[in-house]
Symmetry: C2
Subunit: 468 residues, 2 copies
């Protein structure tokens, strides 16, 4: 209860501090924020999506059910202009997978195939291991030098609040299969891109874009990767690997959206959202049912106001983030409208608490932003001084097309323990932290939607060096 | 370093406080304790056993390799009178296992068969689920009322420092299959007996003794059990289950032992140890490579003294704890010697720190115990006031035959996160806490071995009510 008393006091104070134009907005934003802290809409959405739909791989029957679920959910929550935008998205489906240590002794290895991996022959592959403790060591191996080997890369991932370890370690997954194949490898096993010490392996897509994945590629549980390091230090190690998968080149996916229509300038649109698709392991709770839930609940709470803010708030449930496609599809479908999208933001790092607000350059002095910072401060969120927001994969397309983006940065310390695993499940979501996310999105987006802030103009006027 | 300065000061103090008979012993015990805190023998044993042998299921080729490893290890560490005692132990071997949610939608379920479970037909079993949130609710179902159903019990396990939640929740695993079958069930799935929130399922033996397990029985990951609870609350749930296993009724197992021979009364024996066998999932690091390592390292450090203590210290690596057998086999093989076994103790709750010493009733006033308590206090260990020690499964047979037992209780708060899973691996062992275990065992066992304390006499003279 202590938090709430503090917030109520802060509400009155903020109204006094900010200019009269924004005083009423500040009070409304604070009321929305405090209501959101006790609202269960986001929890209910997360529970419903993960329980009644389960895992939602692009191209799966579950994803089609998820699309229908989205439409029904938007309508039930009072959204208008609900749209389903279909786009082509070849789909990849996992088959049976297994791996065994063959020498120095037989032992089952816990693995998961990487997204887009090719299959092994039905009888599997068996070969000696070439183990590298870093990606760079593997890259240093001359072309052809790994001929006939199963390459194992055991580079670990650094735990970091801002998730920075993911980009560094993730190179093994993203580029490893292509680079190992160039050097003659017949298969690749990577230590899971994980901050956990668990045996549960982490999948994730490899070889974005047009790169061709030519060798079977999978991720090992962390203890298995460490066991292989110790065994390889003692002598020869052999592994047998079986992976199966199928591809449907004609599959489709959908971006689904619903709106809280603006009361004064409805053609000015703020796009927020998360992604509806997930990996086939786990139930995609943190990645990204909670992102869908946070942004949908925030817009719904704003929509429940007696009077909508000036601008339209559009929530998009993106339909193919994990293996790519929804960001590009969204831009393609909204080319004509792009100049009227005044802001975009995505929630896609789980549901642990937000600790920083990131805004476009040049905007920190605007009264709407000053108000927002004051409203977010009691939620223990600071204004990030770094030069550019992290956009989120699904709005990178919009960002590239010139749409201003914001970031509400979530604490990622724990996120990569579960990311892309069977353990990405509802019991990893902390309701109190989920509610803090909703409170931040609700109050911040309300303030932006009821303002006339033009980030494009502010940004163009700002000096080249980071200034906010 | 702070700890060590404290301990050195304590050493001098203790020598002043205790009687002259025990003063020299106290100094030696404190030196042993402090040496053990920086000794790596236990870590090396744990790493070697889990890495070079891996999982060690009774009846497996790996267990035979582990037996040879034990003999070599004892000899290399300077133990004498190394013995391998064979006994009959029917073995159970896991085959392919899988489970799928069939309705309301298809989803893979993460399971592991319980030890001794029977197989399903090769094509699997499919049936509607009857879900119970507690074991008692299942027991309350009338006989025959679960006919044709797959029973799911989702009772959770309480996290507790002393591991007390295991006995309570474990009834679902131990008695569930027999009781569910009585009521007509065709299969049983239990929520893993686990304190974790992980999807990694926990195996363990069911139906001890002569009970016949007649239905296929497996454990679900925790998130899966919770998902089934939510789905069952909404409507009918169907599951398909496949389990395969084989039994070898003629298999054998071994208890392997080595000794630090006593310098004055070598026929008086203190038996300590852990169990060498493990489940087939994971590498049995916490259960119980560390128990073997802690007790072996403790005896080895005592054996390195210029003069051995009066009594013989025997380390036993028990060969069939997980599905039972080694405790009885040990008593059978040592019937004639039992009166000369002056004390027994087992380490079998992982490797987190020891927090309590448990001793037989009537012994707390003995100078050797008083010295021991003083020596253990700086390790942050107290004398437990509860009436009876927890013996450990492998020395329950000795205890039942009248051998006094002690307990050095380990903090079990984290143990049941990994117990009996693929995640029971070396990276869960904390070297500093492992060393604290060795320090406690080394100093305590040294003091008992160099004393003439007779727990049988003290216990017989003690009042019936708990008194120490």
């Amino acid at each position: 209860m202590r938090l709430f008393r503090t917030l109520l006091t802060a509400a009155a104070t903020t109204a006094l501090l900010v200019g009269s134009v924004h005083a009423q907005d500040a009070v409304t934003a604070e009321k929305l924020r405090d209501k959101a802290l006790l609202d269960r809409t986001a929890w209910d959405i997360t529970e419903d999506l993960t329980t009644t739909i389960g895992p939602r791989l692009v191209g799966s029957p579950a994803m089609a059910r998820a699309k229908d679920w989205s439409v029904a959910k938007f309508k039930a929550l009072g959204f208008t202009n609900v749209k389903v935008e279909e786009f082509a998205k070849p789909s990849w489906t996992r088959g049976e997978e297994s791996a065994q240590l063959v020498a120095p002794y037989p032992m089952k290895l816990n693995i998961v195939g990487l997204g887009r991996t090719v299959a092994t022959p039905p009888e599997g592959l068996e070969a000696e291991v070439a183990l590298f403790r870093t990606y760079d060591e593997m890259i240093a191996a001359p072309e052809g030098s790994l001929k006939g080997k199963i390459v194992v890369i055991t580079q670990p991932m650094v735990r970091a609040q801002d998730g920075a370890g993911y980009g560094v370690a993730g190179i093994s997954r993203r580029a490893g299969p292509v680079e190992a194949a160039k050097r003659g490898a017949i298969a690749l096993l990577i230590r899971s891109i994980s901050t956990s010490d668990s045996t549960v392996p982490h999948t994730g897509v490899t070889a974005f874009g047009d790169d061709v994945v030519s060798i079977p590629s999978a991720a090992l549980g962390v203890p298995e990767a460490e066991q292989l390091e110790r065994l390889a230090a003692k002598g020869a190690v052999r592994i047998k690997l079986k992976l199966a998968s199928t591809v449907d080149p004609k599959a489709v996916a959908w971006n689904i959206s619903g709106e809280i229509r603006g009361s004064q300038t409805p053609d000015e649109v703020i796009v927020i959202g998360g992604h509806l698709d997930s990996w086939d392991v786990g139930t995609g709770a943190l990645d990204d049912a909670t992102g869908v839930a946070i942004t949908t609940a925030a817009a719904k709470l704003i929509g429940d106001l007696p009077k909508h803010p000036k601008r339209t708030i559009r929530v998009v449930m993106f339909g193919s983030e994990e293996s790519g496609g929804s960001a590009e599809a969204y831009v393609d479908a909204h080319k004509a409208e792009l100049p009227k999208i005044v802001l975009a933001g995505e929630s896609d790092t789980g549901a642990d608490r937000i600790y920083a607000l990131q805004i476009p350059k040049g905007s920190s002095g605007h009264p709407a932003i000053k108000t927002a910072v004051r409203v977010l401060t009691p939620l223990n969120i600071y204004l990030d001084r770094l030069p550019s927001p992290h956009a989120g994969s699904d709005i990178e397309g919009l960002e590239a097309a010139g749409v201003p983006v914001i970031g509400l940065k979530q604490d990622a310390s724990r996120y990569f323990d579960y990311h892309h695993t069977m353990d990405d499940t509802l019991n990893k979501v902390r309701p109190g932290e989920l509610a803090q996310n909703v409170a931040a999105w609700t109050s911040f987006i309300y303030l932006m939607a009821d303002s006339d802030i033009d980030f494009r103009v502010l940004s163009a006027a700002a000096p080249a060096a980071p200034s906010h």
